[in-house]
């Protein structure tokens, strides 16, 4: 709201300069948007949604009056035949109107200057005076060309079926049942509280006007304005709640201005339709409650001093420290005791309130386990060289589709900002792929990124962690030995993530997903619970997002909630260390290259005695000395008995049984 400094001072003679006035008012909850020093100094305040009464010079003048303890000038800015009928009193509880005989002409220079300073373009004396009154006291008004109202009637009603109106801005608008129109005997001539109609607009030839000053229901104006996409100075005021006592007073003020400027003379008395007058709201205000909320005892004599200049009537009640506050009609935001306490606090000054610390009177509950879980995930991944990415939860539909299950559509946003943010991500991977492409375009080849966050499916929201890895598997070094990342780097990282949660019995199984390379894609499970998927990103998916063809990218995505479900509990028991030595045997067998290592391990387990404690692959070789289609697999077997020292003979016998079993089951030959 642009407040013209001299206009304000006309209403409250504040003995301070522009900057001081701006600062003091801004410290009471009206954020300063700017100050213009000039011939007509202007202070621009942001008015919060709860204070429609301050969308006027009068509202700010009341604040100034409370700040400097200077009464409002004369209290005067506010001082009652046309037929008016209200058919929709729920949407328009009060409607005032006054006829004037007018001479349409430019308004006087001083008025034009003030309007311009306040940000309104001068048009003619009639329109200018309605705007002037709106800016001064906050009441939007509208002037109709009286001769163009059919049968000289005004009917305030809901629109008829399929009714339309051409508004002042020249647009044809169709109206519907929940809106409110001002109509003459035949048709709508204005949309109540939003905009007038073109048909009854004031023109140079207008001689008689009907000036409207009404109270419109805030919710109705708000809905209408939203539905029509039409926001006006009037709708902005009505939709936040206006002052029901103001319409007649605004007509009195307009009349004064019409006479003063010689623009018009009133005809006949004012019409004021107000079928169900409202009683002012009364609120009990307790000194004890003020102290409890603000943390400071405010002297009882000060409380009325803060409230009265703001328009509240404050009467002592029940002896010391209690008042009955009567809320002025323009303070639509004040409904309960706390609202009055805020008024007291504002004018006492928040900065003067003491500084304390809330007392602790109970132990704190343990934190949300998801916090520690996510922290562990981040620690594990950063320790392994992954940097944390954060990407938007909404993405392009095209980027999301490859990551949706077959036949499933991504969750769409009804009112997205743009096509780039149209759907909620079904996976964290599209964002990571884009982040990889961003870095790759800037010349970075070795990229390790992860993100943990929410992903969205028709089943709702879930938490996941995902990583993407391309380029070198290890940091570059002058000694060489660098290697490009491969499937087993990704698998190792997945295993590590499961390991830090203490997850036991990890299985992988082949899987087909559209965004990963077939044969290099695996599901990871623990005791039947699916934890996620990992593998090589399908080149087409990466290239579509700007990655370089031929550069392999490995990705994984794990469901954090599933991971937490299969995590080890807090019931760990430490095992005593083995008391007897273990014996190690290495075997090398040649098997078909398509035989999974897991099958070899399974056969070994079933043929081995219980003293076999571990099996680990330490070499896999194809080439010279190994027939085509076959592979040499070397395994290290560790045997140990918890109760005694094993003999070489029994370990040798066990190893031979194992090799025999491999021969029978897999045509394995020992090398």
């Amino acid at each position: 709201m642009r407040i013209v400094y001299n206009w304000l001072r006309e209403m409250v003679p504040v003995p301070e300069d522009v900057d001081t006035v701006a600062r003091e008012i801004s410290l009471r909850g009206f954020e300063l948007a700017g100050i213009e020093h000039g011939r007509e100094p202007v202070i621009d305040f942001e008015i919060t949604a709860n204070r429609p009464d301050c969308l006027s010079h009068l509202g700010i003048a009341r604040e100034a009056s409370a700040i400097w303890g200077i009464p409002l000038e004369s209290g005067s800015r506010i001082p009652a035949a046309l037929e008016v009928t209200i058919e929709a009193p729920d949407l328009c509880p009060r409607y005032c109107a006054q006829l004037f005989q007018v001479k349409v002409a430019p308004s006087p220079a001083w008025m034009q200057q003030r309007l311009e300073a306040a940000g309104v373009r001068p048009i003619n004396n009639v329109v200018d005076i309605t705007n002037y009154v709106m800016l001064e006291v906050g009441q939007p008004m509208h002037a109709f060309d009286f001769e163009r109202l059919a049968q000289q009637r005004i009917v305030v009603r809901r629109p008829r079926a399929k009714e339309t109106i051409r508004t002042l801005d020249g647009a044809d608008r169709s109206l519907d049942g929940d809106m409110l129109v001002i109509a003459d005997a035949q048709r709508a001539v204005a949309i109540g509280g939003v905009m007038g109609g073109a048909d009854s607009e004031i023109s140079a030839s207008t001689t008689t006007i009907a000036l409207e000053s009404a109270y419109f229901d805030a919710t109705s104006v708000r809905r209408t304005s939203k539905r029509l996409g039409l926001k006006t100075e009037a709708s902005a005021r009505f939709e936040r709640g206006s002052d029901i006592e103001l319409p007649p007073a605004a007509i009195v003020r307009a009349t004064e201005l019409f006479i003063q400027t010689g623009a018009a003379a009133p005809l006949l008395p004012m019409i004021d339709r107000y079928p169900a007058p409202r009683q002012p709201r009364q609120i009990l205000l307790r000194s004890s409650r003020i102290a409890r909320l603000l943390g400071q005892v405010i002297p009882t004599e000060d409380v009325p001093r803060y409230l009265r200049p703001l328009g509240f009537d404050v009467a002592p009640q029940n002896g010391q420290g209690e008042w009955r506050g009567t809320v002025p009609s323009f303070r639509v935001d004040v409904a309960r005791e706390e609202d009055l306490i805020e008024e007291v606090g504002r004018h006492y000054g928040f900065d003067r309130l003491p500084v304390r610390f809330p007392t602790l009177d109970a132990a704190q509950a343990p934190p949300d386990p998801t916090i520690a879980r996510d922290r562990l995930v981040r620690q594990t991944l950063t320790s392994a060289g992954f940097s944390e990415a954060m990407t938007f939860a909404f993405i392009e539909r095209q980027a999301a589709l490859p990551f949706c299950a077959a036949g499933v559509d991504p969750t769409a946003i009804q009112n997205p900002l743009s096509e780039k943010f149209a759907v909620l991500r079904p996976s964290l991977l599209p964002g990571l792929v884009d982040s990889c492409a961003h870095n790759r375009r800037r010349g970075r080849k070795d990229i390790q990124l992860f993100e943990s966050g929410s992903r969205f499916t028709p089943d709702g929201e879930g938490r996941a962690v995902a990583f993407a890895w391309m380029g070198s598997a290890t940091p570059p070094h002058w000694s060489g030995g660098s290697r490009t990342v491969d499937f087993f780097d990704a698998k190792g990282m997945v295993e590590l993530l499961c390991h830090v949660f203490g997850t036991k019995g990890l299985d992988v199984e082949p899987r087909d997903v559209s965004y990963l390379v077939k044969g290099r894609t695996a599901n990871v499970l623990s005791s039947g619970t699916a934890l996620g998927v990992f593998g090589q990103l399908a080149p087409a998916v990466g290239e579509a997002r700007g990655l370089v063809a031929g550069e392999e990218v490995y990705v994984a995505e794990l469901d954090l909630e599933a991971l937490a479900r299969v995590a080890a509990g807090d019931d760990l028991r430490a095992q005593s260390l083995p008391r007897y030595p273990s014996i190690v045997r290495d075997i090398s067998v040649v098997v078909d290259e398509t035989l999974p290592a897991a099958a070899v391990r399974g056969t070994i387990r079933s043929a081995a005695p219980s003293t076999l404690v571990s099996i680990s692959e330490f070499d896999r070789y194809q080439g010279k000395g190994v027939p085509e289609g076959r592979v040499s697999l070397s395994l290290r077997l560790t045997f140990r008995d918890p109760e005694r020292t094993l003999t070489d003979d029994e370990v040798q016998a066990a190893t031979e049984r194992i090799v025999d079993a491999l021969r029978v089951a897999h045509r394995a030959e020992q090398r």
């Binding site: 309960r336 981040r378 990407t391 909404f394 969205f456």
Partner: protein
Amino acid sequence: MSDSQIAALRADFERDLATATTVAALRGVRDRYLSRKGGLVSGLLKNLGSAPADVRPRLGKLANDLRQQIETQLDERIAAAEADRPPAGAVDLTLPGRQPALGHRHPLTLLRERIESIFSRMGFLVIEGPELEDEYHNFEALNMPPDHPARDMQDTLYLAAPVRSAAGSPATLLRTHTSGMQIRYMKQHRPPVRLIAPGRVYRRDNLDLTHTPMFTQVEGLVVGEAVSLADLKGTLLVFLRELFGEERKLRFRPSFFPYTEPSAEVDISCAACSGSGCNMCKRTGWIEILGSGMVHPAVFEAVGYDPDRYTGFAFGMGIERTALLKWGVEDIRLFYENDLRFLEQFPL
């Protein structure tokens, strides 16, 4: 053999000695001058017989002196060079080490964890909740009934169709703040309450230097029988000074939020100009850092707390905005581009 020959030899030796720095080079110098066969000084001595007899003793002494000096100087230099030579198996210490790969936490995580740790020490519980919300938890329970003008303050992103939610009724929108979680918590727990709820929130803001349609927020809530605005001031003072430095000043300005009454916006004194006014603070000396207030009684009524018995305060701040201020980041979009050159600037 003459005086001048001896002097020339001495000069040659001095020059050769100066350029020889390694043990091998020094040994070469020794051979050149002192070797029995072909050494320059040895040769000189062998030629002594050809000198006239009257000068022979004097020249003999001069040549012998030269030989001894050369021997002494070479011995010293060779000993010194041997002491300097790296021991067997020595490596070039100046080559780069082999660092294990180490990634960086995102700066927003870094700041969020720091904020969580400050509040944890003050006895605050940290809770998280769903990002998809329903109208009730995002608006209605927070004193924002349908058509409330304050809903315009937070332009909301809605889902095209409701989505199942583990948190209860179907979700219809992307939460505009984390307050919904506070409503859930209060419905399940009696006071006292002392918590913070960090998380991602969404608003229909266009992407520019200072706005992103998704950002990270931390909200706090304290409820008890004697919680006042003075406690809010004290809590935020401790928090903001720990985060931004002890010398920072705070200013509380009245404001409006539907879910708090009274409401206050909190400004922090500008670090760039120490309050004298600069571009960073739009020449005011103050920078807005968070919104706060005393919990509105309508919110207590919505969760079944007696507003006459309990009072409380709440506050909320954007982590991106705080990060911009704390680290002098010029463009908020950098937080979401994940450029490794940006991420790697922040401490681990």
